[in-house]
Amino acid sequence: MKFVIALFSAPHAPSSRRALRFAQAALAGGHEIVRLFFYQDGVHSASSAVVSAQDELDLSAEWRTFVQEQHLDGVVCIAAALRRGVLNAEEAQRYGRTAANLTAPWELSGLGQLHEATQMADRLLCFGGP
């Protein structure tokens, strides 16, 4: 089964963790993840500037490792990211910002990527809220 997973919530929301655990279980079960799409506050999970307390789960780091190790297509909505200060080097330069906090494996792109992935996948799973 081909899945596309859309994440709408910030890394500190339990639903973000649920999305990651679902994604891990899907791959472990032999399924395919066509694309991960981070939208709205979900873009913060792709930021490399997030610092978690030592005794807490570092969800941004877990996502990064997961996407890298599984060679997944991790797309972050560009409009949602820019307005929340999540920028890659190219966008930081374009808008004259002093820092960039989005690096590989993440890619900034448009909402069309979610639509396209949904057409390619058998199931769209959205995670958001609490």
């Binding site: 089964m1 899945f3 709408f8 339990p14 639903s15 649920r18 655990r21 679902f22 891990q24 279980a25 899907a26 472990a28 079960g29 399924h31 199931r123 769209l124 799973l125 959205c126 995670f127 958001g128 809220g129 609490p130």
Partner: protein, 99 residues
């Protein structure tokens, strides 16, 4: 097409659960995750509504969220882990998350 509805908001803070229950059709499923598992708390109107749900609607709850809140699921509820969640999303034609 049979739909799996996924709830994660507490049923005591908004009307998602009651709206969802109105929408559920024969063959659909309801998965309670996060604070939505509080709907299974004994002696509440929400629990009563779930108990009265017809048998042709699958009722599921995420194990870790039940454990975290010390809620015992009644026999009517099928408790699932993450592999079970994945299996459910394959079994139902589509998954509708109440964000």
């Amino acid at each position: 097409m049979a739909t799996l509805h996924v709830l994660s908001h507490s049923p005591f803070s908004d009307s998602r659960l009651s709206s969802c229950l109105r929408l559920l059709g024969s063959g659909d499923g309801l998965l309670l995750s996060g604070d939505a598992v509080y709907a299974l708390q004994r002696g509440t109107a929400q629990r009563q509504a779930l108990d009265l749900m017809p048998a042709n609607i699958g009722l599921f709850a995420l194990e870790e969220d039940l454990c975290a809140r010390a809620i015992d699921a009644p026999p009517r509820v099928q408790v699932v882990d993450y592999p079970g969640f994945v299996e459910l999303s394959c079994r139902f034609g589509k998954v509708n998350s109440w964000l």
